[in-house]
C-alpha cells in the first residue's frame, strides 16, 4: 500500500450519538491535506481514530509503511512542570541511559532551530515559565523530532497549531510544513485560518455532520465554496421541526445591561436575548465566566447556567431542592433561618414551572437524567433574583421536547425584562436570539442580527480568511 493511512467507510458512535457516519479518507507520503469543518463535524473523532485512541465502530483502518503518527493538539499535550527536553523524552523511549538529557536537549533544540530560527526558548526552562506561543512551538517541534533506532516519522496531524503563534512564527511553521512534506512526511492540517490551508495544502477535505462532503485539490475549492460546503443547508428532519421563531420586539432604548469590548463590541439591553457563537473554544465561555464573576456593564446580579453540568453546576451531595435553591437562599429565609416549608414550596413551584420529571424533590440530583439535571440548573438560575442570566451552552445532552420548553421559558422571561446571554454553537438555539456575536480568537468579531442569521454567515465570520 502506498498510503500512510487509509480509512474505509469508517463510522463511530458514542452511545446513540453518531460522530462519524461513514468516512473514506486516505493520505499518501509527502501529501499535505487540509481538513476543515464546523463544530461537531467529526474532525476530532477522525483524528482520534487515526491516532488509534479508540477503534472505529464500523469500517476499516489500514496503516501503510511503518512509521510513527504524531499529533499536535490544540489543547497542548505538554507537561508544564518539565522542560522541553524532558517533554521530548516522554514520546521517545529510546532516549535512555547515561546522557539521555543531553541527547534529548540536542534533539529538541535542533528541531526548534530548524522550524523556528531565532525562537529564543531557553532549553532548561520549565514549560510553565514559557509564554503560550513558545509552548506551542515546543509542541510542534517535538512532534517532528525523530530518534535513531525508532521508526521514521510517517505522518503528523496538526490540530489548530498556529492559534498562539505570532505572524513570523506562523510563516516559519508553514515553510517547515512544506519542507517536511517534501521529505515524505504526510501532513493533516486542521485550522480555522483558511489562508494557512491554502498556503500549504495539496488537497482539502470538507467535513460536515460526520461525513466528508467534499474533497479536491486546493486550487479547485475556493474559499467561498468551502464556507458554503461547511454550512450548507441541513436537511430538516421530519417530525423534529421546531416551529419557526416569531421575531421579538426589543426596545432599543432600554438600559444597557452587559457590555464587552472587541472589534465589534457586545451590548445587551434589558429584555434582550443575545447569542455568543463561533468555533468552540474561542473565548465565549471565558467571556461568560468573566461577566458572572467580575461583572461587565451594568452593576446587576447575574445568574449562570452551566453547560458542563458536573464541573460547573451540580452539587452532587445534595437533593434536587437544595440544588435548586442555592442561588436564592434569601427568598426562603424567614428571620435568621431558612424555612424548610418555604424551601419545599419554592422547589415545588419551580418543578411545576419548568416541568422537571422526578420522583420527589428530596431525591439526590444525581439520580436524574442529564436533561432533567439541566432543567434543575435552569430553574436555579431563573429562580435567582438576577436580571441577567448567562447560558453556557446549556442544551448539551438535552432532548428535543425539553429544548422547546426551555426556549419558551427563556422568551417569556426576556419579555418580562430579563437579559439573556447565550453561548451556543447550534443554529437552532441561536435562532432564539435577537442577535448573535461571533467570537474568534478570544474576542467578538462580528454581530449578526436575527434576520441575517444563517450557518453560512456564522461560518464566514468564524473562519479567518
Amino acid at each position: 500500500m502506498d498510503k500512510v493511512i487509509a480509512l474505509t467507510a469508517v463510522t463511530k458512535a458514542f452511545g446513540p450519538v453518531r460522530a462519524l457516519g461513514g468516512v473514506d479518507f486516505a493520505i499518501a507520503p509527502g501529501e499535505v491535506v487540509g481538513l476543515v469543518g464546523h463544530n461537531g463535524a467529526g474532525k476530532s473523532t477522525m483524528v482520534n481514530i487515526m491516532m488509534g485512541t479508540f477503534p472505529p465502530t464500523e469500517g476499516r483502518v489500514e496503516r501503510g509503511a511503518a512509521g510513527e503518527i504524531r499529533c499536535v493538539f490544540q489543547e497542548l499535550s505538554l507537561c508544564l512542570n518539565l522542560d522541553a527536553a524532558e517533554n521530548t523524552r516522554l514520546i521517545h523511549r529510546s532516549l535512555r541511559g547515561l546522557g539521555w538529557r543531553r541527547r534529548a536537549r540536542a534533539m529538541i533544540a535542533g528541531r526548534l532551530d530548524a522550524i523556528f530560527p531565532g525562537h529564543g526558548i531557553p532549553p532548561e526552562a520549565k514549560l510553565s515559565d514559557l509564554p503560550i506561543g513558545q509552548r506551542q512551538m515546543v509542541e510542534i517541534a517535538r512532534a517532528f523530532t525523530a530518534a535513531e533506532g525508532e521508526g521514521p516519522l510517517a505522518m503528523v496531524i496538526l490540530d489548530e497549531p498556529t492559534s498562539a503563534l505570532g505572524e513570523e512564527a506562523t510563516q516559519q511553521f508553514l515553510a517547515y510544513v512544506r519542507k517536511a512534506a517534501g521529505e515524505g512526511v504526510a501532513i493533516v492540517l486542521i485550522t480555522h485560518r483558511l489562508n494557512e490551508i491554502y498556503a500549504v495544502s495539496h488537497r482539502i477535505v470538507v467535513m460536515k455532520d460526520g461525513r466528508s462532503v467534499a474533497e479536491g485539490p486546493s486550487a479547485e475549492l475556493p474559499k467561498e465554496r468551502l464556507v458554503e460546503l461547511m454550512g450548507g443547508h441541513a436537511v430538516p428532519v421530519e417530525g423534529e421541526d421546531i416551529p419557526a421563531v416569531a421575531t421579538r420586539k426589543t426596545d432599543p432604548n432600554a438600559p444597557v445591561m452587559v457590555t464587552l469590548p472587541g472589534a465589534v463590541p457586545v451590548e445587551a439591553r434589558k429584555g434582550d436575548i443575545i447569542g455568543f457563537t463561533g468555533l468552540d473554544g474561542h473565548g465565549q465561555r471565558e467571556a461568560l465566566v468573566a461577566i458572572q464573576t467580575e461583572g461587565r456593564g451594568a452593576k446587576a446580579a447575574t445568574a449562570f447556567v452551566a453547560g458542563d453540568r458536573q464541573a460547573d453546576g451540580v452539587l452532587p451531595v445534595w437533593s434536587i431542592a437544595q440544588n435548586l435553591t442555592i442561588s436564592c437562599l434569601a427568598t426562603i429565609r424567614r428571620g435568621a433561618f431558612l424555612s424548610p416549608a418555604a424551601e419545599r414550596a419554592f422547589a415545588e413551584e419551580w418543578r411545576e414551572r419548568i416541568g422537571i420529571r422526578m420522583r420527589d424533590i428530596d431525591q439526590p440530583l444525581t439520580e436524574l437524567s442529564g436533561g432533567n439535571q439541566q432543567k434543575v440548573l435552569f430553574a436555579r438560575a431563573l429562580a435567582a433574583p438576577a436580571p441577567i442570566v448567562l447560558l453556557d451552552d446549556p442544551m448539551r445532552g438535552v432532548d428535543v421536547g425539553t429544548k422547546a420548553e426551555v426556549y419558551q421559558t427563556i422568551r417569556n422571561e426576556a419579555d418580562a425584562g430579563r437579559t439573556f446571554v447565550w453561548f451556543s454553537t447550534e443554529l437552532e438555539e441561536l435562532e432564539n436570539c435577537d442577535r448573535v456575536y461571533v467570537f474568534r480568537e478570544g474576542a467578538p468579531v462580528a454581530c449578526i442580527p436575527r434576520e441575517a442569521l444563517s450557518q453560512d454567515a456564522i461560518i464566514a465570520a468564524s473562519f479567518q480568511s
Partner: protein, 318 residues
C-alpha cells in the same frame, strides 16, 4: 477540583454521622461485658466530660474540612496552648475577669484563623503546610509568652467545669446546646448552605453566586475560635495552661470530625456526629489506660482502632 459524578457508588442505609455512636456503643458494651457491668455509668460520665474539649476543637475542624477537599487546620494544638496562656494570664485568677479571658481566647483564636486563611489565599500555600507553619509560630509565641509559669485559672472557672446539677455536668449540657446551634447554622442558614455548597464543588458554588472567599475565610476563623475556646476551658479544667496541653488534639480534632461524618471530599458535615466520635475516642483512651499498657502500646492501639473505624465508616469512591 471536579467531583466524581458517581459518588453514590456505595449507598449506606446509615448516615455517616452514626458510626461514631455505634463504635462508642460497641466499645462501652464490650467493656461492660468484661467488667460484669461495674462502673459503666462512671466510665461514660468521665468520657463525656473529656469529650467536651475534643468536640469544641473538632467542630472548628469540621467547618474547615467541610469547606472543600484539601482544607484542614493543623494549627489547633498551638492555638489551644497560646489561647490558654493568654486568657489565664489576663484573668490572673480573678473571677471578675472571666468574660475578658473568654473573649480574649475567642478573638485571638479567630485572628490566628484569619492569618491561616490569609497564608493559604495570598501565598497560595496548601492548607496542610500553611496551618502547620503557622502552628510553629504560634507555639513559639506560647513558649515565649507563657513559658514555664503557670497561672491558676479563676476559681469560678474550675468550679464551673465540674459543676453538676442532679448529677449532670452543666458544661456538658451547654456544649450540647452549642452543638445544636452549630447544627442550625450548618443546615438552616445561608452561611451553612454556602459552606456546604462550596465544599462539594467550589467552581459550581462560585458560579451559583456564592462568595467563596468570604465563606472559606470564615470557616478558618471559626476553627481558630473553637480551638481558643477549647484552650480556655481545658486550662480551667486542668488547673492552668501547659505547653503540651494541645498536643493530643491535632489527631483528635481531625479524627472526631471525619469519624463524626464530615466528608473529607467536602460538603458534608454533622454537628452531633462529632459527639459519637469524641465519646468513642474518650472511651478508648479510658479503656487503654485501665489496661496498664505502656504509652507506646496505647498509642499503637489508638491509631489502629481509628484506622479501622474510619475505614468502615467513610464513603469511598470507586
Amino acid at each position: 477540583m471536579s467531583v466524581a459524578p458517581a459518588r453514590a457508588a456505595r449507598r449506606l442505609s446509615l448516615p455517616p454521622s452514626a458510626y461514631g455512636f455505634i463504635a462508642a456503643a460497641l466499645l462501652w458494651g464490650g467493656t461492660m461485658l468484661l467488667s460484669d457491668g461495674r462502673g459503666g455509668i462512671e466510665m461514660l460520665s468521665v468520657a463525656l466530660s473529656f469529650s467536651i474539649f475534643s468536640v469544641a476543637v473538632g467542630t472548628g475542624q469540621m467547618f474547615v474540612i467541610a469547606s472543600g477537599p484539601g482544607n484542614i487546620d493543623l494549627s489547633c494544638p498551638a492555638v489551644i496552648t497560646l489561647c490558654a496562656y493568654v486568657s489565664m494570664n489576663l484573668m490572673g485568677g480573678a473571677d471578675g475577669m472571666l468574660p475578658v479571658g473568654l473573649i480574649a481566647a475567642l478573638v485571638l483564636g479567630g485572628v490566628i484563623g484569619l492569618v491561616n486563611y490569609g497564608l493559604v489565599r495570598a501565598l497560595k500555600i496548601p492548607p496542610i503546610i500553611a496551618t502547620l507553619a503557622a502552628s510553629f509560630v504560634v507555639t513559639s509565641l506560647a513558649m515565649w509568652y507563657g513559658g514555664e509559669s503557670t497561672v491558676r485559672p479563676p476559681q469560678a472557672l474550675s468550679d464551673f467545669m465540674i459543676w453538676r446539677v442532679g448529677g449532670v455536668q452543666v458544661a456538658l449540657i451547654l456544649a450540647l446546646i452549642g452543638s445544636g446551634v452549630v447544627h442550625l447554622v450548618l443546615h438552616r442558614t445561608v452561611y451553612g448552605r454556602s459552606l456546604l455548597a462550596l465544599g462539594q464543588n467550589a467552581r459550581a458554588a462560585q458560579l451559583a453566586g456564592i462568595r467563596v472567599g468570604f465563606v472559606r475565610m470564615t470557616a478558618y476563623a471559626v476553627s481558630g475560635m473553637m480551638a481558643g475556646l477549647c484552650g480556655f476551658l481545658l486550662a480551667g479544667f486542668t488547673g492552668g495552661a501547659a505547653l503540651n496541653m494541645g498536643e493530643a488534639y491535632l489527631m483528635e480534632s481531625v479524627a472526631v470530625a471525619v469519624l463524626g461524618g464530615t466528608s473529607v471530599a467536602g460538603g458534608r458535615a454533622s454537628a452531633f456526629g462529632i459527639w459519637g466520635a469524641a465519646l468513642f475516642l474518650s472511651l478508648l483512651v479510658t479503656l487503654l489506660n485501665s489496661t496498664g499498657l505502656g504509652a507506646g502500646a496505647r498509642y499503637l492501639f489508638t491509631g489502629l482502632t481509628i484506622l479501622v473505624v474510619i475505614f468502615f465508616a467513610t464513603e469511598r469512591r470507586k
